[in-house]
């Protein structure tokens, strides 16, 4: 310290005189030299405070010359506020010996000749020896030191601020172990440590905070540093704060060891790199992603500058062209990668596009030449590259290898041609219709088989519409199928008729399918038309046979019911006879007037009608009719034949009960045929009960809906049921238990029901009677 530096001089001044008188002169010279050489001001004053001596240093520091100031009061060297007090200090010292600031250096304010003041460090001593009091004062100008100190402080403040701003903390302390470590505020912040806690040694810090993945590496470094006397370095690792967050830090440190004591110290900085790390990682990821995209994207990407030189190629492009990337970069794209015949034209196109004269440059398809000399077809999507000013400086092209696709297209065309051939020559009738215009019914194409089937030439057929070729009664169904197809059904299959050119009907089974575009929009309808006229005619013939048989069977049934029918006719006839004979008697007796007579005749008429209606019903039932399937209500059909059943029951003293479920679904049936089956079953039931006591004979006709799907008509009797041994043959033709029966009733009934898609079955009832059940499928809803 500076105060100590003055010690030798003071000693010299104070100790020289008493020790060596003989050497005074020499000493005086030495003192004079010293006084003039020393940078400090040395001022001697007497006991009154008057300056006796003023050295060179004092002249320089205070700006007075020795001549000017010697003889003046020393207070002149002090700023005005302190001058007055100074004489008092000296007086008090003389009287009491109390020195307020003798010996200990002290900083005071001093005043130069020009009146400016400066910080001065003053040491004052009494000059020992003979004579009156005198004092020696050594004054050092502290201005620069103070300025330096202020600058240092400023620098330190700046450093701390900088540390905080740069996330740099610093630390200092003994190495390897010791106490009183220093951590800067920023270090506390980085470590997430409470500043009230004591700082840790670097090793404790490493042990406490290092992320476990980095621990091995950090500990290895510490071990290495412990072996060395000095060292330092840089270490990046992660720390885990107490709150669990992770920071990336960079530690730069220096270890210094005193070679003599072996005592080491370490100091260093800690930089929080977390944000930088994150930013770097994000950047790297972005770069990787871009690169990976370029590599992974399944199109070639080639960027060229205005001269056509390759600036960028991706992996796909390299693969396709067969070059490693570095062989392509910088090469002329056209010369290198396009076949000779194409390159010239392609370059012209490129240059025209750069000049803004070629608008169709965005999408181009053309060949590329691979390193092996193969050609591939590539479909390019091109974009201009621009510099910051927006000027075009190149082109980036994304190219798709369409070689296989083009080959497939050629194959597809061939396949289409083959398909067309098959279409034309197929043995079944085929036609196509445009799906959006299907309802117009004009064919787009027809094949030869269809022409042959309908008797028209292809030209004639194409000029006609489906409506012209379809009998009027079939048109609704055909349109319904079209609509279903367009509503999303893949395939429809239905039977219909066409009209041959010669007017005869053509029965056909039609399959229609839709071909949709890739968005699922119907494009085309393909129709396959199978001529089933022969089959249908055979079926019609079979149906006629069945109908003839059914007719015979109905006649037979009525024959069996003759007694009942006669009774049914007899009743109105009896009534008519009674009425008329009554009238005759009354007339001849003159006991009837016109009004009464009219009344009775009315009743006669009603009975005549009643007889007529019985006959009508019988005729309706036995007449030959063409099969006619319609949506019918099973209950209504039963009601229509009820009089016949009632009559049969009456004549056999059978109690008849009906249990008809309301709101039955409709069935698609030939009414007369279904009635025939029901009547056949009731007849059988009535006969089956002949041997039972009259008061136990009961017949139940029941309708219901089975599972919401089928309509069930059941005929149940209270007879003795069908013996088990008969069950298997029950529905066989010519099986009968009746002496006069033909054995066709049940067999025919079953074939009629099955022709309607239904089932006729037998169940025995718990109390021994029989139940015959007809199950018929529900008719489709009307549109």
């Amino acid at each position: 310290m500076t105060s100590r530096d003055t010690d030798p001089m003071e000693a010299a001044v104070s100790g020289a005189q008493p020790r060596n008188r003989s050497g005074d002169r020499r000493a005086q010279h030495q003192l004079a030299a010293l006084l003039s050489a020393t940078p400090d001001a040395v001022v001697l004053i007497d006991g009154e405070g008057v300056i006796e001596s003023f050295n060179k240093g004092a002249e320089r520091i205070f700006g007075y010359s020795a001549e000017e100031i010697v003889g003046q009061n020393v207070a002149r060297l002090m700023p005005a506020p302190f001058r007055a007090g100074h004489d008092g200090y000296i007086r008090r010292y003389r009287q009491t010996g109390e020195a307020r600031f003798m010996l200990a250096p002290r900083e005071v304010e001093a005043c130069r000749k020009d009146g400016s003041t400066f910080p001065a460090e003053v040491s004052v001593g009494r000059v020992e020896g003979a004579g009156p009091f005198s004092f020696i004062g050594i004054v050092r100008d502290n201005s620069e030191r103070r300025a330096a100190e202020a600058r240092l402080h400023q620098v330190e403040t700046n450093l701390l601020t900088a540390q905080a701003l740069a996330h740099v903390g610093s630390f200092e302390g003994p190495w390897p172990q010791g106490s009183s470590y220093f951590w800067s505020d920023e270090f506390f912040r980085i470590a997430g440590r409470n500043p009230d806690e004591s700082p840790l040694s670097p090793m404790e810090f490493a042990r406490t905070y290092t992320h476990q993945d980095d621990r091995e590496r950090v500990e290895a470094r510490i071990a290495e540093d412990l072996r060395k006397t000095s060292g330092g370095g840089e270490l990046e690792y992660r720390i885990v704060r107490l709150d669990g967050t992770i920071r990336h830090i960079q530690m730069i440190y220096q270890i210094v060891r005193d070679p003599l004591t072996g005592q080491g110290r370490i100091q260093g900085t800690v930089l929080d790199q977390t944000f930088r790390r994150h930013a770097e990682e994000a950047l790297r990821r972005e770069r990787d992603r871009a690169q990976r995209y370029l590599d992974l994207v399944n199109v070639m990407i080639v960027a060229v500058d205005q001269a056509g030189r390759i600036k960028l190629v991706n992996r796909k492009a390299c693969e396709l062209l067969g070059y490693p990337e570095h062989e392509l970069l910088g090469k002329d794209f056209f010369a290198t990668c396009q076949p000779a015949g194409f390159a010239g034209r392609s370059r012209v196109l490129f240059e025209e596009a750069l000049a803004g004269r070629e608008a169709g440059f965005g999408l181009v398809e053309g060949p590329v030449l691979t390193r092996e000399g193969h050609t591939r077809r590539v479909f390019w999507r091109n974009e201009f590259l621009r510099d910051e000013q927006g000027r075009i400086n190149g082109v980036l092209g994304a190219g798709e290898d369409v070689t296989e696709q083009r080959e497939t297209e050629v194959q597809l065309r061939q396949a289409e041609a083959e398909l067309r051939m098959i279409f034309r020559r197929a043995p079944v009738g085929m036609a196509t219709l445009s799906a959006p215009h299907a309802v117009d019914g004009h064919y787009l194409s027809v094949n030869q088989a269809l022409c042959a089937m309908l008797g028209y030439t292809e030209g004639e057929l194409l000029a006609l519409s489906v409506r012209d070729l379809t009998p009027p009664e079939e048109i609704d169904e055909t349109l319904r199928q079209f609509r279903q197809l367009l509503a999303g059904t893949d395939t429809v299959k239905y039977e219909t008729q066409f009209i041959h050119k010669n007017g005869s009907p053509v029965h056909a089974l039609v399959h229609k399918s839709v071909i949709a575009d890739h968005q699922g929009k119907p494009l085309l309808i393909i129709s396959q038309i199978l001529d089933r006229t022969d089959v249908v005619l055979a079926e019609v013939e079979a149906r006629k046979q069945r109908e003839r048989l059914a007719h015979v069977a109905r006649l037979g049934t009525l024959g069996e019911m003759a007694a009942g029918i006669a009774h049914e006719l007899n009743q109105p006839l009896t009534a008519i006879a009674n009425y008329t004979q009554a009238c005759q008697r009354l007339l001849s007796a003159g006991r009837i007037d016109a009004e009464e007579l009219g009344d009775v005749l009315g009743r006669v008429t009603a009975q005549a009608r009643r007889a007529g209606s019985v006959i009508q019903r019988l005729r309706a039932f036995v007449r030959r009719h063409t099969p006619d399937r319609r949506r019918r209500d099973a209950n209504e059909l039963i009601q229509e034949i009820l009089p016949l059943v009632e009559m049969d029951c009456r004549s056999h003293e059978v109690e008849l009960r009906l249990v008809l479920q309301q709101d039955l679904p409709k069935v698609q049936v030939d009414g007369v045929q279904l009635q025939q089956v029901v009547l056949n079953l009731t007849r059988n039931a009535v006969e089956a009960m002949n041997s039972c006591a009259a008061d136990t004979r009961s017949l139940l006709i029941r309708t219901s809906c089975r599972n919401g799907e089928d309509v069930e008509l059941a005929v149940e009797d209270s007879g003795e049921g069908v013996p088990g041994s008969f069950l298997e043959q029950l529905f066989e033709p010519f099986f009968t238990t009746k002496p006069e029966g033909m054995g066709l009733g049940l067999s025919l009934s079953r074939s009629i029901i099955e022709a309607h898609g239904g089932t006729l079955r037998y169940d025995s009832l718990p109390d021994g009677g029989s139940a015959f059940k007809i199950w018929l499928p529900t008719a489709p809803e009307d549109e």
Binding site: A563, A566, H567, N570, Q571, P572, L573, T574, A575, I576, A577, N578, Y579, Q581, A582, C583, Q584, R585, L586, A589, R591, I592, V600, R603, A606, Q607, R610, R650, S651, E653, E655, A694
Partner: protein
């Protein structure tokens, strides 16, 4: 030819037209006629003491004509019954006659034939009514007999000799003779045959 004014023809037929026309015809022929749609309806309205005859449809739902006839016999009502039958019901009609029906006519019928049958039935009804009056008279006379006299009459009508009756009853033959004379007197029977007939009438057996 008119029957007694209180005689009624009861028509039972389930067919409304036949019933109605029969009613008209029989009224035109001068009878009182009442129509019923079923045997049950008829039985509900009928009093066994009613006088007349029944025209009964043989074939009806529920209780048939034959069953009604049987029922009437069972309750001791012997009102004459004329059955009307349809075609093919002949076997049933024969069964009806076997059960005691007066006759049957087939639908449709001639009115005169019907009226003749009704007339027959009414005559029989009249006869039966006369018989019924006689029976009541006889029953009154029987009621006037003492117990012993009834006992003796029961034995006499069996054709037993006085001696045998005396042995059976443990009384003297003379006593039997006295009782027998009293019976003949009270019963106003001038011959044994007459007494036998009276007892038969009283017991509801058809008189010959």
């Amino acid at each position: 030819m008119m029957a007694a004014s209180d005689a009624t023809v009861f028509i039972v037929d389930d067919d409304e037209a036949v019933r109605d026309s029969l009613g008209l015809l029989l009224r035109a022929a001068g009878y009182r006629a009442r129509c019923y749609a079923s045997a049950k309806d008829f039985l509900k309205a009928f009093d066994p003491r009613d006088y007349g005859c029944i025209v009964l449809d043989i074939r009806m739902p529920g209780m048939t004509g034959l069953e009604l006839q049987k029922h009437l016999i069972e309750i001791g009502c012997n009102i004459p019954v004329v059955f009307i039958t349809g075609h093919g019901d002949i076997p049933m009609a024969v069964e009806a006659v076997r059960q005691g029906a007066l006759d049957f006519i087939q639908k449709p019928f001639d009115d005169q034939e019907l009226v003749d049958r009704i007339e027959d039935a009414m005559k029989q009804a009249a006869r039966q009514r006369e018989g019924e009056l006689e029976r009541l008279q006889i029953l009154d006379r029987i009621a006037s007999l003492t117990a012993r006299e009834k006992e003796v009459m029961g034995q006499v009508v069996l054709g037993k000799a006085n001696k045998v009756i005396a042995g059976d009853l443990g009384v003297s033959q003379r006593t039997v003779e006295i009782h027998r004379a009293r019976v003949m007197e009270k019963m106003q029977a001038n011959s044994l045959a007459r007494l036998v007939r009276m007892v038969m009438v009283a017991e509801g057996q058809p008189a010959t």
